[in-house]
């Protein structure tokens, strides 16, 4: 009886988890392909393939390669980045209810983007200032945390302070922005979305995403150790604080890069890591790629809904919110029914 019980609660075998991880990693590819023929101008798969092979008429070619493909790639990268950064932050903070915005990255990015719009510095300026603002906010929170003693809780507290402060500054800019042109722009940016994404915006995002993901994967086993209490990790010879800051820096880089292209998109960074963890387990070597694949697929799907469901685009953050809350509720109820804590 006891043996049977043990068999039932046995963690799924490593091979099965690795296979699931591989499946999640390739999951975005078919979704990405499908995204190319979905849209107001419906294309069939043959036309899409033709565009790639250079056999389609110029308008179709243009639509597929210059409009839909960069947007789909951007959606996939944003989803992957937010999910991976969320997973890394949840590990570092020993808290599955955390996401990478906890240190004020989004508030900083929002401030940067709003500033760029008020200064009329164009799309490139918005991307650069949003990216810089996000990094600056997280760096400020991290240094405040270090000044308070460097523990995890004071880091969270510093994040709350920075979030609040940057939101207030953002409010100030909105208050003084031109209400007919700039204010709507700022408001739409803060609701997230990927309309009119160009390759020159996607390229830097792809470079930062690739580097961040690769470095986090290299650190994945150490990241497992960071989920232990500080004293335990220290006793195992880990340079806890240095490593923690390194992982936070990489997660922040990914988040800032994503947000600087997409605007604010919530929930993905919180829920996708959960789902990925439920499927492949907590080992970050499998969890990070699984979260990346699942995050990319989810955001691709949501972006397809955002641009095709209605005559006008629905902002992404509204969609993730509408979907995220019930999903979160379902996950939470399932966890309560199982009688366990967050795993």
């Amino acid at each position: 009886m006891r043996a049977a019980l043990r068999g039932a609660v046995r963690a799924p075998g490593r091979v099965r988890r690795a296979a699931l991880c591989a499946l999640l990693v390739v999951l975005p590819l078919p979704v990405l392909f499908a995204s190319l023929f979905l849209g107001r101008a419906g294309l069939d798969p043959g036309q899409v393939l033709g565009a790639f092979l250079g056999r389609a008429e110029p308008t179709v070619r243009n639509l597929v390669l210059r409009v839909r493909l960069p947007r789909a790639v951007a959606a996939a990268l944003v989803g992957a980045d937010l999910a991976v950064a969320g997973a890394a932050f949840q590990g570092v903070f020993h808290n599955p209810l955390v996401e990478s915005r906890i240190l004020g990255v989004s508030a900083g990015a929002g401030l940067g983007a709003a500033l760029a719009m008020v200064l009329r510095s164009g799309p490139a300026g918005v991307q650069i200032l949003a990216f810089g603002g996000g990094l600056a906010a997280a760096a400020l929170a991290a240094s405040l945390g270090a000044a308070f003693g460097g523990g995890l809780l004071v880091l969270v507290l510093s994040g709350i302070l920075v979030n609040s402060f940057f939101s207030a500054l953002l409010g100030l800019i909105k208050y003084f922005a031109d209400p007919y042109v700039q204010l709507p722009g700022i408001t739409f940016w803060l609701m997230g979305g990927l309309p009119a994404v160009l390759w020159r915006e996607v390229l830097p995002l792809a470079i930062v995403s690739g580097m961040g993901l690769a470095l986090l994967l290299l650190l994945s086993w150490r990241l497992n150790l960071l989920t232990l209490s500080e004293a335990e990790a220290q006793a195992l010879g880990l340079p806890v604080r240095r490593l923690r800051l390194g992982v936070i820096a990489l997660g922040t880089l990914l988040t800032a890069a994503a947000v600087s292209v997409s605007g604010i998109v919530g929930w993905v960074g919180l829920l996708v890591p959960h789902a990925a963890r439920a499927l492949v387990g907590p080992d970050h070597l499998l969890l990070l790629p699984a979260a990346a694949g699942l995050g990319a697929a989810v955001l691709l799907l949501l972006d397809n809904v955002a641009r095709t469901a209605f005559a006008t685009e629905i902002p992404l953050d509204i969609l993730t919110g509408l979907l995220g809350v019930p999903v979160f509720f379902a996950l939470f109820m399932r966890q309560i029914q199982r009688g366990g804590g967050w795993r």
Binding site: V9, R10, P96, N224, G281, G341
Partner: protein, 261 residues
Amino acid sequence: MSLEARGLTYAYVPGKPVLQGVSLAVAPGDFVFLLGANGSGKTTLLECLGGLRLPQEGTVLLDGRPVAQLAPRERAKRIAYVPQFAEAVFAFTVEELVLFGRAPHLGPWGRPGPRDREKARQALALVGLEGLVERAVPTLSGGEKRLALIARALAQEAPYLLLDEPDAHLDPAHQHRVLAVVRALAREGLGVLATTHNPNAALVYGGRVVLLRAGRTLGAGAPAAVLRPELLEAAYGIPFRAVGDGPGPQALLPRLDEGLT
């Protein structure tokens, strides 16, 4: 060869030391129990010995060299520390948890390989958990969790083992299982220091006992010599009586007839 504390003084708040000039030594093969009332400085002493805290005065010497001068990884190869509570926020398997003990033996970018897996299996076999390799840590019982943490410390292959209340919150059978495993490890040559609130566990399993009161050493030596009713009363502030006949006490119990209610 020893892990030695010399005149340690540690204060969390300046002017209020929780350790005042404490000295003790653990040699390979020793099983030393550290006793004392709540707040007497046991855990702080353990953490100082493990190099996790730097004492304001005094030194911790590992085979004659100050622990504070060792790089964290080198220290972790020599001193293993088992906390009383381990956070298990995420459902790692028992094997994954034990493999964490290989961290000091792997480079900064390394991951455990087949050899480390083998060491983890051996460590699990030593504590008798070889059947639970694939189990998720949060599904383990309290005793199994404690044994898994000890296995992780064994996978570190450190000659010194520091245990914070290894017998706390365990039923008598699991207390025995954990302490018997630790005693066997000490007999194999490990130097072990464990805190406990149970003088009788120290009587049964311990080779030596150090009794703390308010950050100072009240007594040190063989269990039967230190764990006398007078000293225990001085340490805990309630009267004790020794039970049993023979050369020393078999058990020590609070004395209920002396106005204790």
